[in-house]
């Protein structure tokens, strides 16, 4: 549906992030997320798709139509791309009523429907968004959550080929954000509109997306389903940016015949699983998520067992649905997350990294 190829835009000043050779494609009805820290170039990429930025190289194809190509000098202006977009600030026009905001894209369409037809479509969209009683209200009087739904209604009313969302939830408070996240996912599936979503919030990205592109420093680091991104991050950046992690840089790497990898870390040797080929992984690190670390009493013998280390609990935090402990092994602190259990366990513990849950990944240089 959408194909982005080799998109590049570099800025002279460092204030706005540039992008380098961004390529990806989005399937019909897919929810695709660009995830990354601020300044990684995700918003620049989105605005380039919208036609609000003109990249210096690359091309963008929407459906079977080329809408942007530097080499061929093609630039379809944003108002002819037939897109829907929700801005970070919503950009709900404060001088218009809710109805006028939503009907605007229909009025601007090349083939305008009749007045009654437009009214019907707006009413239907407002119904979907739960804004039925608000049509004649001034847009400036709406609350943050309502403005957000209005912005979404405006973006969807003309049945765009592609929906672009630029951090639409970032201006909402925590509770509303959680609620709107669910709404957004439900709506997108219901309407079936192809969606590109930009966020810096990894939890949002994991919960909403069909696929995620993790970006850093203007480039895409990894593209994959939420599962792939979380379970098989390609490098230390993705591992630490998405989810919480214990990461141990390797001093030496040894590959076994059965596909497992042995990494010499500050803790000692750690046996890991390698995703795909581990050859050429000169600089590797062992990654284990806090919820995969197994905690046992330090009662057993202290003879060395593979992937088991003796440590001391130095900090306990009760999070409601889980308990987090910081275990110090030598000079290293390991984060352990357990679902239940008493707060005051033993002070001396053994931590165990199940090898099938421990991943060898490329370490950043």
């Amino acid at each position: 549906m959408l194909r982005v190829e080799q998109l590049t835009k570099l800025y002279a000043q460092g204030e706005i992030a540039g992008i380098k050779n961004i390529s990806f494609s989005v399937e019909k009805s897919e929810f695709f997320t660009l995830l990354g820290p601020s300044g990684c170039g995700k918003t620049t990429t989105l605005r380039a798709i919208a036609g609000l930025e003109t990249p210096s190289a690359g091309r963008v194809t929407l459906g079977d139509r080329l809408i942007f190509d530097v080499a061929e000098g093609i630039f379809v202006p944003p108002n002819q791309r037939r897109l829907g977009m929700v801005f970070q600030s919503y950009a709900v026009w404060p001088h218009m009523s809710v109805y006028e905001n939503v009907v605007f894209p229909l009025r601007m369409a090349e083939q305008r429907g009749s007045a009654s037809e437009m009214r019907k479509r707006v009413t239907r969209t407002l119904e979907t968004m739960g804004l039925v009683g608000f049509a004649d209200r001034s847009a400036a009087q709406l609350s943050g959550g309502q403005q957000q739904r209005l912005a979404l209604a405006r973006a969807l009313v003309a049945e765009p080929r592609l929906l672009l969302l630029d951090e639409p939830l970032s201006n909402l408070d925590a509770l509303l954000r959680e609620h709107m996240r669910g709404e957004l996912r439900r709506l997108q599936k219901e309407v079936g509109v192809t969606t590109v979503y930009v966020t810096h919030d990894q939890a949002e990205a994991l919960a909403l997306s069909d696929r995620i592109a993790v970006m850093n420093n203007g480039a895409i680091v990894q593209i994959g389903s939420p599962h792939e991104i979380y379970d098989r991050p390609v490098n230390a950046f993705v591992a630490t940016f998405v989810g919480r992690s214990n990461l141990f840089r390797g001093e030496s790497v040894e590959c076994d015949k059965d596909g497992s990898v042995r990494i010499e870390t500050v803790l000692g040797p750690v046996m890991c699983r390698a995703p795909g080929s581990s050859s050429g992984m000169a600089l590797a690190a062992a990654l284990i998520r806090p919820e995969h670390v197994v905690l046992t009493d330090a009662a057993g013998s202290d003879e060395p067992i593979l992937n088991r280390f003796r440590g001391r609990v130095v900090h306990v935090a009760f999070l409601g649905e889980a308990i987090e402990r910081v275990v110090r092994v030598g000079e290293v602190e390991i984060l352990v997350r357990s679902i239940a259990g008493a707060m005051d366990g033993p002070q001396d513990v053994d931590v165990f990294f199940p090898p099938e849950r421990t991943l060898a990944i490329a370490a950043d240089t």
Partner: protein
């Protein structure tokens, strides 16, 4: 002991301090008498010896029953409305081009506006009269193109008045609208673009739609300013017998001997009522201009509109507007200043050019006095206004006891059109039996009253930007309120006060109508000298004095804008 005393002292601090009482008294002395004298004079006959006679409604009846009253009122409304519309259209297009687009040479608009702020009204009007006059270059050009010998344009008409007044206000309209467009988040326009709107639709529905309250407020402001303006009605309107309310007042005072102050005052009272109503409406509209402020995302960027192929059209406009609004009038004046006897531009006249007029103006003691007087007048009025408004602005902004009354008193002169305020003070000086009439000191006093509202606005906004906690911290450290004001507020207020000083200075030295009735032989000022010279037909001297003065004033207006922009104060 000290503990029990503390609450009593705190309550004392909330009472009126002597300093604030003194300030109130000063303001009342300046502001209340003009009202009283104007109303009293409009309701009493004038005895032949110049003293007030019996009570009468005759002045009002004479005005309303006069055949010319209807047309005068009609002219006033059309003239003010037309000027407001013209100023708004030119100002808004400039502001949009300068702040929302990628058109080149955008800075040119700012430079031109700054220069134009320094041109005296009279000089600017004279330039247009020379350009559009019967024998002016525009009419000659039209005659050459379309044939015929009759002039095509009669500038001494309602249309001419609207054109000149509208152009006169367009730079200020631009400077006031620029921040409105500058501060608007670009995503509103981008959203329209995504929704399928092209450039024109976006401007119409979004840019102008969102700026509507600001445009309306500014339009009304220019409407008010034009209805109380005197210079254009006198110089452009009267020669063609187009009367508006302000010029009617002037005629009552100058055409008849002895001056008909009663009828003039009655006109003045009518105008005051109109002003009061308009200002009330303006206050309501201006309060709404912030209604459209909404969530601004973290991704806020005031991005510019890409004009594409419209860029060239925009470029033409950007060159054309300053050319018409500033450069051509200035060039005309310069041309006139260099000629011994005025004639329209032609190659034949080139050998006649010389600096005789400049030599004459700069060597003439009366002109040198006028320049010196004007500078003294401007500087003293600005200094007094700024000093008073620093304290007054603080009382108003911090809602000290008495602050409300101070606010009302200081703002009262706003309802006075300058010519009416001049008339009111004329009557005070004449009937009051004082010997201040015609002195420079009297002009300073009148200017202080007239420009106090503007000084107060600046000081008040300046104080609002200073967080009250800074003062509270001084109080906690043991400083009394007055001391906290001197040691904490005043130093932080300095930038706002400098802006206020420059603004009041520029207003005071530009004013014609306020000074026209009050300046005496010993207190000639530049603006009035220009007015008289033009009426005497001394075009060369008008132009030369005007050029010298414009050069001096441009320095001041540049300084003012630099300060105002740096400290983000409103330019109006």
């Amino acid at each position: 002991m000290t503990l029990t005393l503390a609450p009593i002292r705190a309550s004392l601090a909330n009472r009126l301090s002597p300093a604030i009482l003194l300030l109130m008294a000063l303001l009342a002395i300046g502001v209340v008498p003009p009202f009283l004298f104007l109303i009293y004079s409009s309701l009493h006959e004038l005895d032949p010896d110049g003293a007030f006679g019996a009570f009468t409604f005759a002045h009002f009846i004479a005005i309303v029953s006069s055949r010319s009253f209807g047309p005068t009122l009609f002219n006033s409304v059309i003239y003010s409305f037309g000027s407001a519309l013209l100023a708004l259209v030119i100002g808004a297009s400039q502001a949009w081009l300068a702040e929302r687009t990628d058109a080149s040479l955008r800075q040119l608009l700012y430079v031109a506006s700054i220069v134009s702020l320094g041109i005296p009204y009279v000089l600017y009007i004279v330039a247009w009269l020379l350009l559009l006059g019967k024998a002016g270059p525009v009419n000659i050009l039209l005659q050459q193109v379309f044939g015929g010998t009759a002039p095509y344009i009669n500038v001494y008409s309602l249309g001419g008045m609207i054109l000149v007044e509208g152009l006169l206000w367009s730079p200020l309209a631009f400077l006031l609208l620029a921040p409105v467009f500058r501060n608007s988040d670009a995503s509103f326009e981008e959203a329209a673009s995504i929704c399928g709107a092209g450039l024109i639709s976006t401007i119409r529905h979004i840019t102008l739609g969102m700026a509507k309250p600001a445009l309306l407020a500014l339009g009304l402001l220019v409407f008010i300013k034009a209805s109380e303006a005197f210079e254009v009605p006198a110089l452009v309107g009267l020669p063609g017998s187009t009367r508006v309310l302000t010029s009617a007042i002037y005629q009552q005072l100058t055409l008849e001997i002895p001056p008909n102050t009663g009828t003039a005052s009655a006109f003045g009272v009518l105008l005051l009522v109109v002003m009061a109503v308009l200002l009330q409406i303006y206050g309501r509209i201006a309060a709404q201009t912030h209604r459209y402020q909404t969530v601004t995302g973290k991704g806020y960027r005031p991005r510019v509109v890409r004009l594409g192929r419209w860029r060239y059209a925009a470029g033409v406009l950007i060159v054309a507007i300053p050319l018409v609004v500033v450069l051509i009038p200035l060039a005309t004046i310069l041309w006139a200043a260099l000629l011994p006897f005025y004639q329209p531009f032609s190659i034949k006249a080139l050998p006649l050019l010389g600096f005789a007029n400049f030599v004459h103006v700069l060597n003439s003691p009366s002109f040198r006095d006028a320049i010196a007087n004007t500078l003294v007048l401007g500087a003293s009025a600005a200094t007094i206004v700024t000093a008073l408004s620093a304290v007054a602005g603080w009382c108003v902004a911090r809602r000290l006891p008495g602050g409300g009354l101070i606010d009302t008193l200081a703002a009262l002169p706003l309802v006075f059109p300058a010519i009416v305020l001049g008339l009111a003070f004329l009557e005070i000086f004449v009937h009051g039996g004082t010997h201040v009439y015609g002195t420079l000191a009297s002009l300073v006093a009148v200017s202080v009253v007239a420009y106090m509202p503007y000084g107060l606005r600046y000081a008040q906004l300046g104080v609002i930007q200073i967080h009250p906690e800074l003062e509270e911290a001084a109080a906690i450290s043991g400083a009394r309120r007055a001391r906290a004001f001197v040691r904490v507020v005043l130093p932080l207020l300095v930038p706002a006060l400098i802006s206020s000083w420059l603004f009041v200075f520029l207003l005071a030295v530009r004013a014609v109508s306020l000074m026209l009735l009050l300046a005496g032989p010993d207190s000639q000022v530049v603006s009035v000298a220009l007015f008289d010279l033009w009426n005497n037909g001394q075009i060369g001297e008008v132009a030369a004095l005007g050029v010298v003065w414009t050069a001096i004033m441009t320095l001041f207006s540049t300084a003012f804008l630099v300060f105002a922009r740096r400290f983000q104060l409103p330019v109006g």
